[in-house]
């Protein structure tokens, strides 16, 4: 029942959104909340039911480990094949994009946490947005986002996934620009939209490659063909396709160099940051790469690119996060950094570990954002950590839940982050016999930084001396129930979800990886083959060198502790005008970090051209300047030259007219000139019907030719 | 001779409309019947509107000409026919002369396809509803011509307003009609029909009037049509082309006498025409109430009594009022007249009890009853509503009814599709 009507899950929020857009303006706030939150709660229940049924269904012998697919209809192209194209082997294939839904372990995980976290954030938003204008609009957008996201993760082909992909992009744009009267917000929205377009272009191209190369866009068929062994490892077309797909993922999941929109996206309301820019939408890239794992394992170059980009993003963003002062920006850079971790995991082939980190991250990052939102709420809109401090006992629930989340993200045992992060680090260390070991160091350093900036945030916000103004201090209050309850639920998840992936080395059974095995089974096989062919020690990961793993765990725990300690030392007593330790130690580095490596400025110089480099504009605007210059100097020059020549000829002819014609003939020349000019006049008479007459004459000629041919 | 009789009789055996059967004689007879019936209906409507409106407004209405003013419309008609037919000096004579005929022609031609019963229609076209919409839209031409040819400002503005109004509301109307046509395709073959008779038969086959189909979609579509049809006929509360306090009488300000009465005739027959469309599309046309639920011999019999009973009821009202007439020599003729009228009604009622007659006429009775309900609505609106302002009217047409119509159309289509694809694959 749940499984066959899986289409209801995305439909429910869509209905909610439709209700909001058509009738929202007239509805009471209570009704709006009831409709929107209700639809998500229903969707969550349906999702749970569907996953539960699926697990029962896929454990039957007939359908063992098969994905469940249901196709409602075909919306692009049709069975009669009007939109045919030729695949790479020359055979015609119909371009088919179905409204079809696919449920397998991978999408199950996304389905569960998207609806679950989404539900909590909806509830939270009823409290957070209670006093804002555009209440129905906000919930309409949120529901529309849920619809798009669910379409994205339940799609059974790339095209429908792309529909959801664009849908979430649109909703992200709308929600970032929710306070559209604020210039910065609308700018941030436009920025997010444009940067995402760059990635989407890559994704589209990649999709075309796949359609052309595989003749289908359905995941099941593509995976099947990829596993069939028809393609060699390192096939250049597949490499190109996967690289293009990864460009798309970079845009959506904010990886280098397209990460720049995410920090700016914090202009949106905080629940949006929590839902879209931390927990769900930004993981769409991860989902897409994981979904295409069968292709990626055929392209080692792409895998390496993914791993390296991921690792670089992780440390890059983490280092910026060290010095930011805006509480939401710190979390934003932290998100970028954690997404880097996920890609690192995907790149080294540890898909399950990456997905595991997505799962745990969704909970604790959502919790962090919601906590931050609660802090901002209690501070009446203040976001700068320099003006906070000593909030710990004034908003205890927020403080405690956020502390749990911080422990989780820093990787303290036994909180969720510890397990997922260690799984990634361990896989990075051990995969392919240590080929990626250099990235482990990057990841390790990132872990240290993560602990530092997260505890820096905690101390600056909740401990130290109060640094806010008096009236602000007076207004501090704990948030309402509708906000704190989701915080508590998420805090429980932040503790507990990690235990699903309790590693073997610690005596656990790692249920999570086992659950995902059907999806990544093929991937494991290909990797093994590759390992064999490249003469490396195969099956390192099979041996589970426990002692090494324990050592690594201890090291990362130590890093977390070290970061904590450093933060404690520096910010424990932070008072007004405290000094940043980095600024004190190496001011130039602090400066560079505070300005985010001047990347935005660089883009402004190089790509958009909003700023001049010396005297020259580069980028898009530069192109405009250049063409303007070309127009004034070259084109107009040519025109002027033509004019000059015309004038010259005019002078000559007038001279000729005056001296030669008038000198020679008296009446004849004028008549002659008129007769001579008549044919030319025929074409520019100015009487519209003359043109019609000429056309008719042409028609006469045409018919004449065909009659008396 | 014999062959002519055969020709005449041949139609009676067939189960078709005269047009479909290709029988010229009966087609002509039907045309005459419809024309006469329509004229009578317009006259009756004129009287009813005055009386009902008057009673709504706590007054009596016409009381002098004939008993309870029954002969008033006839007196008016005679007066109008005898009046001088003024054509303004500066008017464009030919067009001024032609305009009312075009309007009347458009309003009457529509009735070619109106199905008063499964066989009681002049003809049945397979593009019936399209034909009706098309021909009724021709009356805009007459209005524009009338307004322009009068060579006067008020008629011109009135004509522009009313034609703009009619053209805009036609769009919403068309959308509502399409959503009803979509419902006809919900059968095994999946093919719908545009034929008026086919539409009613589809309702019969599906066992429900389209107004209840996909509740509330059918109802909304019907509602859109019901609003648009009032605007389409320039009646209150959308009558601002005619009676806006600043436009005297709109496009027919300069008309008088016979030509004015043609406009009057056209307006009322257009009202009947659009009501017929509404009845056909949503209210099951000639079908009697609950034909599927309350079927069987007994119910057939009971329902076949309705026409006769109705006429007897009217006759009873006449007799009651006859008794209540003032006993005064001046009122003697009126009293007798009313009694005679009652007798005529009673006789008609009695004739209608003859099974052969009642079976044949029952369809027409139900159709006429439904149309009459609409006519009452028209009068009711006029007594109740203030007038819209022109911009509000346009806003209503384009910003309310059109989106609603589109939405209903899309929803109807998707529901129909879902019904076919998901629950009955």
């Amino acid at each position: 029942m749940f499984l066959t009507h899986i289409w209801l899950i995305p439909l429910l929020p869509a209905v909610g959104a439709a209700v909001m857009f058509f009738f929202g303006r007239r509805l009471q706030k209570a009704t709006v909340s009831a409709v929107c939150v209700g639809s998500i709660v229903l969707a969550f229940i349906l999702a749970c039911g569907a996953v539960w049924q699926y697990s029962a269904w896929s454990s039957t012998s007939d359908n063992f480990h098969k994905p469940y697919q249901t196709i409602l209809c075909t919306w692009l192209g049709s069975d009669t094949g009007h939109l045919n194209y030729r695949t790479q082997d020359g055979s015609p294939a119909p371009l088919q994009a179905d409204v079809g839904f696919l449920l397998d372990p991978l999408s199950s995980i996304w389905l569960l946490f998207v609806t679950g976290v989404g539900m909590l954030i909806h509830i939270y938003s009823t409290g957070y947005m209670a006093h804002e204008g555009g209440y129905y609009r906000f919930f309409g957008y949120l529901n529309l986002f849920m619809f798009s996201m669910l379409t994205l993760i339940l799609a059974n082909n790339y095209v429908l996934l792309f529909v959801g992909w664009e849908g979430v992009g649109l909703c992200s744009y709308l929600l970032i620009g929710f306070y559209f009267h604020r210039k910065s917000a609308s700018d941030a929205a436009a920025k997010a939209f444009i940067v995402n377009r760059i990635g989407d272009a890559g994704f589209l191209l990649g999709m075309f490659f796949i359609a052309w190369y595989f003749g289908s866009l359905r995941f099941i068929e593509v995976t099947h063909i990829a596993h069939s062994g028809r393609f060699s490892i390192g096939d250049p077309i597949i490499t190109a396709a996967t690289l293009l797909l990864f460009v798309g993922a970079c845009g959506k999941s904010a990886q280098l160099p397209l990460y720049i929109w995410l920090p700016d996206a914090m202009e949106g309301p905080t629940p949006v940051s929590a839902l879209i820019h931390a927990a769900t939408m930004v993981t769409a890239g991860v989902y897409m790469v994981a979904r295409s794992n069968a292709l990626f394992v055929l392209a080692p170059t792409s895998m390496k690119t993914v791993a390296i980009v991921g690792a670089l993003t992780a440390i890059f963003a983490a280092s910026i996060g060290l010095v930011q002062n805006d509480i939401k920006r710190v979390l934003a850079y932290s998100t970028v950094s954690q997404l880097g971790y996920m890609f690192l995991a995907l790149g080294v082939g540890a898909f399950a570990a990456g997905v595991f980190h997505v799962f745990t991250h969704a909970f604790f990052k959502a919790l962090l954002f919601l906590g931050a939102g609660s802090v901002i709420h209690s501070m009446s809109g203040e976001q700068d950590m320099r003006n906070m401090g000593d909030l710990g006992h004034r908003i205890p629930i927020t403080h405690r839940t956020m502390f749990i989340a911080t422990l989780a993200i820093a990787g303290i045992f036994p909180f969720a982050g510890f397990f997922s992060k260690d799984a990634i680090l361990w896989e990075t260390w051990s995969r392919e016999g240590g080929a990626y070991r250099f990235l482990w160091y990057v990841g390790y350093a990132t872990a240290l930084m993560t602990a530092f900036y997260m505890f820096r945030l905690m101390y600056l916000t909740f401990h130290g001396r109060p640094r806010m103004s008096h009236e602000a201090e007076h207004h501090i209050h704990e948030s309402p129930m509708s906000m704190t309850v989701p915080l508590i639920v998420l805090a429980l998840c932040a503790v507990g979800t990690g235990w699903l992936g309790w590693p073997h080395s610690l005596g656990g059974s790692d249920r999570f990886t086992k659950f995902l095995e059907p999806v990544f089974a093929g991937e494991a096989r290909v990797l093994q083959e590759e390992g064999r062919t490249s003469q490396l020690v195969a099956g390192v990961e099979e041996q589970h060198n426990s002692s090494t793993e324990w050592l690594l765990m201890a090291l990362s725990l130590a890093a977390a502790g070290l970061g904590w300690g450093m933060a404690w030392r520096s910010y424990r007593h932070a008072d007004k005008g405290y000094t940043e330790p980095i600024a004190a130690a190496v001011p130039p580095v602090y400066d560079v970090l505070l300005h985010k490596y001047y990347v935005d400025e660089g883009y402004d110089y190089v790509f958009t051209g909003r700023r001049k480099l010396g005297n020259v504009r580069l980028g898009v605007l530069g192109l405009g300047t250049a063409s303007a210059w070309f127009d004034t100097h070259v084109v107009d020059g040519a025109v002027n030259a033509a004019g000059w020549i015309t004038r010259l000829t005019g002078t000559i002819s007038s001279w000729w007219d005056k001296w030669i014609i008038d000198g020679i003939g008296v009446n004849g020349p004028a008549t002659l000139a008129r007769i001579l000019s008549y044919p030319a006049r025929l074409f520019e008479w100015g009487l519209v019907q003359w043109y019609a007459l000429v056309m008719t004459a042409g028609l006469v000629g045409f018919v004449f030719y065909y009659v008396y041919r | 001779m014999n062959s002519i009789v055969q020709y005449i009789q041949s139609y009676l055996a067939s189960d078709k409309t005269p047009g479909a059967a290709g029988n010229m004689f009966w087609a002509l007879v039907y045309i005459m019947l419809v024309f006469v019936g329509l004229s009578v209906a317009v006259i009756a409507m004129n009287w009813l509107e005055r009386k009902i409106l008057a009673h709504m407004q706590v007054r009596l209405g016409p009381m002098r000409v004939g008993p309870h003013g029954l002969l008033q419309p006839i007196a008016d008609a005679i007066k109008l026919l005898l009046k001088e037919d003024i054509i303004p000096a500066e008017a464009d004579g030919l067009i001024f002369w032609m305009a009312p005929f075009i309007v009347v022609l458009a309003a009457f031609t529509v009735f070619v396809v109106v199905p008063f019963g499964p066989t009681h229609a002049i003809t049945d076209m397979n593009i019936g509803i399209l034909f009706m919409l098309g021909v009724s839209s021709l009356s805009v031409l007459g209005i524009v011509m009338a307004g322009w040819a009068s060579n006067s400002h008020y008629p011109l503005i009135g004509a522009l307003r009313s034609s703009a109004q009619m053209v805009s509301y036609e769009v919403a109307m068309g959308l509502a009609v399409v959503s009803a046509i979509l419902m006809t395709s919900l059968n095994a073959t999946g093919t719908g029909t545009l034929s008026m008779i086919g539409i009613v038969q589809a309702q019969q086959a599906q066992g429900e009037w389209f107004i209840f189909k996909f509740f509330p979609l059918g109802l909304i579509a019907f509602f859109i049509f019901a609003v648009a049809m009032v605007a389409e006929t320039n009646r209150a509360p959308f009558d601002l082309a005619e009676a806006e306090s600043e436009l005297t009488a709109g496009f027919h300000t300069e008309y008088s006498g016979f030509r004015w009465s043609l406009f009057f005739l056209a307006e009322y027959s257009a009202m009947i025409a659009v009501s017929s469309i509404a009845v056909t599309l949503w209210l099951g046309g000639w079908l009697r109430p609950f034909p599927n639920l309350l079927s069987g011999g007994i119910w057939e019999l009971v329902f076949s009594f309705f026409p006769g009973v109705t006429f007897l009821f009217f006759a009873a009202i006449c007799f009651y009022n006859t008794v209540r007439m003032p006993k005064h020599p001046l009122f003697r003729i009126q009293t007798i007249g009313l009694a005679a009228f009652g007798v005529v009604l009673a006789l008609i009622g009695l004739v209608l009890f003859i099974p052969a007659v009642s079976m044949r006429v029952q369809d027409i009775f139900w159709f006429a009853t439904k149309v009459a309900a609409f006519m009452y609505l028209y009068i009711w609106y006029r007594g109740t509503f203030p007038r819209y302002r022109f911009d509000q009217l346009m806003q209503m047409g384009w910003k309310v009814l059109l989106p609603m119509g589109l939405g209903v159309l899309i929803l109807t289509a998707s529901v129909a599709l879902l019904q076919q694809k998901l629950w009955h694959p």
């Binding site: 100015g686 009487l687 519209v688 019907q689 019609a692 007459l693 008719t696 | -």
Partner: protein
């Protein structure tokens, strides 16, 4: 009487077409010129439907429907231009349409 063949329709269409052409070529009133264009389009439609009847397919009728659609678009735009033109020049004579821009 004669049997009516496709050729009859074609001749009728040709006659209408010629009337339209004459109207377009000779009248000065823009409105009438536009109406003559409608005549031409209708002549073409008649041919299309006649051929559709001849070959027993419906493609000709579909083309006729498309032509009617185009005629609607043409009329709307043409009359829009006409109104703009009239507003500026206070005339509807086609002779005065001799600027590309105003």
């Amino acid at each position: 009487m004669l049997h009516i063949t496709t050729l009859h329709y074609l001749v009728l269409g040709a006659a209408l077409f010629l009337l339209g052409v004459i109207g377009v070529l000779t009248r000065r009133n823009v409105v009438i010129v536009l109406m003559s264009i409608e005549l031409i389009l209708n002549a073409v439609n008649l041919n299309l439907v006649a051929f559709s009847r001849l070959w027993g397919g419906l493609h000709g009728q579909i083309f006729a429907i498309f032509v009617i659609t185009d005629a609607a678009a043409e009329a709307a735009v043409g009359l829009g231009i006409l109104i703009a033109f009239f507003r500026n020049k206070e005339t509807v004579n086609i002779d005065e349409v001799n600027l590309l821009k105003w």
